[in-house]
């Protein structure tokens, strides 16, 4: 048995950690990865520096307000990017050009041009890129195995329900009609403590933009096919924050793939009252020989007790950390063997293109080709 040697470890540059620190924490669950230094651009506002510093202090590592300097002065091979979405690609390109492998938080970007820059930088510098995802939750892995064994035949339709039963400030219509619009950045900054700040940044982002990557990543892995046309509807149905900022908290998307496969997404931040746990996250897969209905959350355990806090999920997932470990493990293997990562840059770019096409479809009411 080949146990990892200390010199096999990858030094990790945490390249901005303003929102989901679970990505860096997830990477650190694997013994091959060692959090080494936190870095960010010097000209960022104070709140960003504070968050970076706090994470660095918690892990007993340095925070350097100069990305190039951090790379030059520390022994790092991997960058974990979890900045605001609008800075994701610039930081990833900088890391790739410095020869670092990249693990990036979703979404890839709000701009397809930026996604293209990452794809090009990763290819030119021959580094690996992994978009953090949920593809290795046990139920999803089980679905992949069932499909690989041919038990349903070649799937011809994929459907994913991806609802987060979380609130996002006051319900739609509940504020004083004369109240000023809610400020996106300030509200999302305040949501950091709950982890509901995936869309933090100057540019408001709806749920399809922020979370669409996850269900599309399931489908990309299970189908191996590219989406070529979409039709979508979106609305701000639940939360005043989304109404005030003109972004969606509910979306449906029909998908047509190049190989004739079809699919759909139903996605939203549907409010904490709407489900006893994090939300209904299900995969429906149809093939000529059978079908699969998979709940991504399972296995889980039901926990109910007197004076239970309302915000505590009554059904607790058991294996979140398993997804973290397996993602990190697969990334290490991709580096070791120079193979594809489980969600590489071209696939991530294709997912971003699908999301942006869906948003355009929802604005125009028409079917849109995915570039």
């Amino acid at each position: 048995m080949n146990l990892p040697e200390p010199h096999d470890r990858f030094g990790v540059l945490v390249l901005s950690v303003v929102k989901h620190d679970y990505v860096a924490r997830g990477v650190a669950t694997h013994p091959r990865f060692k959090l080494t230094v936190v870095a960010d651009e010097a000209d960022q506002p104070d709140w960003i520096h504070q968050r970076n510093q706090q994470f660095a202090d918690e892990h007993g590592i340095a925070y350097v307000r100069d990305v190039s300097k951090a790379i030059a002065e520390h022994d790092v091979q991997v960058a974990v990017v979890s900045s605001e979405a609008e800075r994701h690609c610039a930081l990833s390109v900088q890391a790739a050009e410095a020869g670092l492998h990249i693990i990036q938080d979703k979404p890839m970007s709000t701009s397809l041009t930026e996604c293209d820059r990452v794809v090009e930088a990763v290819a030119q510098n021959k580094v690996k890129f992994l978009m953090w995802n949920r593809n290795l939750f046990p139920a999803v892995v089980q679905a992949r195995e069932v499909i690989a064994r041919g038990e349903v035949g070649d799937p011809y339709a994929f459907h994913v329900d991806f609802y987060f039963a979380k609130d996002a400030g006051p319900p739609k219509g509940s504020r004083d009609p004369g109240a000023p619009p809610m400020d996106w950045l300030e509200t999302l900054k305040a949501a950091h403590i709950t982890g509901a700040d995936g869309g933090v940044g100057k540019e408001p982002m709806g749920e399809l933009g922020v979370e669409g990557c996850y269900p599309l990543a399931y489908i990309a892995m299970l189908s191996g096919a590219k989406v070529c046309r979409v039709f979508a509807r979106t609305t701000a149905h639940f939360h005043q924050l989304y109404v005030d900022n003109g972004v969606e908290d509910l979306a449906t998307v029909s998908l047509e793939f190049e190989n004739g496969v079809v699919g759909s997404l139903a996605l939203g931040r549907i409010g904490a009252a709407s489900h006893p746990d994090i939300g209904e996250i299900k995969l429906h897969i149809l093939g000529p020989k059978g079908a699969l209905v998979i709940s991504e959350a399972r296995p889980e355990v039901g926990i109910y007790y007197r004076d239970q806090p309302a915000e505590e999920f009554k059904n607790q997932r058991l294996l979140d950390s398993e997804n973290d470990y397996l993602l990190a493990d697969s990334f290490a293997r991709a580096i070791d063997t120079n193979s594809h990562t489980i969600l590489d840059a071209p696939t991530s770019r294709a997912i971003a293109a699908t999301v942006l096409a869906a948003l355009e479809s929802s604005r125009t009411g028409k079917v849109v080709d995915v570039p």
Binding site: P171, F231, A236, G271, A273, A291, V293, V367
Partner: protein, 321 residues
């Protein structure tokens, strides 16, 4: 209000009448008195013995409803009533001209899960409906598109309080005759809300509008089908899903599942609703308007499948968006 019992004949149900006898025993204000394989034979044998007819398999007996109307029998006809809007309208017109009641047996509306969801929605517990998600998967069968789609499209209109503003559809063709899979993507309008007296609202829709995704498959191996319906509202959600209602059966190896069905109570409830409508001389809960609206939407689905385009409601008819 009519004081006399409504005498019902059942046409087109085949030879198994056991379930119907149970249903008859539960009815108030009416009872089943005759059965027949076709309308012609039923009229020939029982012409003066019944007041209303349940046409259980209308697509197998194209003229049954017209013959019933000519014979002055109230018509309660299984969805989809007909294969298309034109044929359905001819039946509606025939009933109207004969001065008899017309109702659609729309089983989905009366299933316990549907009734529970509708009850909570109308009580305001779920808020404004935002997203309806439906899966209906079956083993291969040769059914016209209307037969697949009518129940869920009609129920969706009831849930959203308006017909769709946008219709988009995708299909997979397994043979020359019928698609083996259909996906519907529907948009619903903003504005309106339900009037206090029930029925569809005149203005249509809830304040936020909404959307629905449904898929219908006929590719499962022979055996049980899969049904799932979830409704996400602005303040709550409802999930009626076979996946949630499964039991485990151990017989070696991986366990198999058993799914508890919803019983046959919906058959009694839908017939009762028709009897009540006839006796009280009021429209059937699923009547002329609901039948026309649903067939309009099915027509738009067919056009979308043919052209690959989105169709939008242009003041009564669906046109390419």
């Amino acid at each position: 209000m009519c004081d006399s019992l409504i005498r019902l004949a059942v046409v087109g149900s085949g030879s198994d009448v056991t379930n119907w006898k149970d249903v008859s025993a539960r009815l108030r204000g009416g009872h089943i008195v005759a059965f027949g394989d076709s309308m012609e034979v039923t009229l020939e044998r029982h012409q003066d013995e019944f007041d209303a007819v349940i046409i259980d398999n209308p697509l197998n007996d194209d003229h049954a409803a017209h013959r019933a109307a000519e014979a002055n029998k109230h018509v309660f006809i299984r969805s989809p009533v007909a294969e298309n809007l034109l044929t359905a309208e001819a039946i509606i017109d025939a009933c109207r001209e004969a001065g008899i009641s017309f109702g659609v047996a729309q089983t989905l509306r009366y299933q316990p899960s549907s009734q529970t969801i509708l009850d909570r929605l109308l009580a305001g517990k779920l808020g404004d409906p935002g997203l309806l998600r439906v899966h209906r998967w079956r083993s291969p069968r040769n059914e016209p598109l209307a037969e697949w789609l009518f129940p869920d499209l009609e129920f969706a209109t009831r849930l959203f309080g308006a017909k769709p503003t946008e219709v988009f559809a995708l299909a997979r063709q397994d043979d020359d005759a019928m698609p083996g899979y259909v996906q519907l993507h529907l948009g619903y309008p903003a504005g309106g809300g339900y009037p206090a007296g029930g029925g569809y609202p005149a203005g249509g829709g809830y304040p936020a509008g909404g959307m629905a995704i449904m898929d219908f498959s006929a590719s499962l191996p022979s055996g049980e089908g899969y049904d799932s319906l979830s409704l996400i509202g602005s303040s709550g959600a409802a999930y009626a899903d076979d996946h949630r209602n499964t039991h485990l059966l151990y017989g070696g190896g991986n366990p198999s599942t058993l799914i508890s069905g919803e019983g046959n109570g919906h058959v009694w409830r839908e017939i009762q609703s028709f009897i009540d409508a006839v006796r009280e001389n009021k429209p059937s809960p699923v009547g002329e308007a609901e039948c026309r609206t649903t067939h309009q939407v099915i027509g738009a689905v067919a056009q979308s499948l043919e052209t690959g385009r989105v169709f939008s409601d242009q003041g009564g008819s669906y046109e390419p968006a």
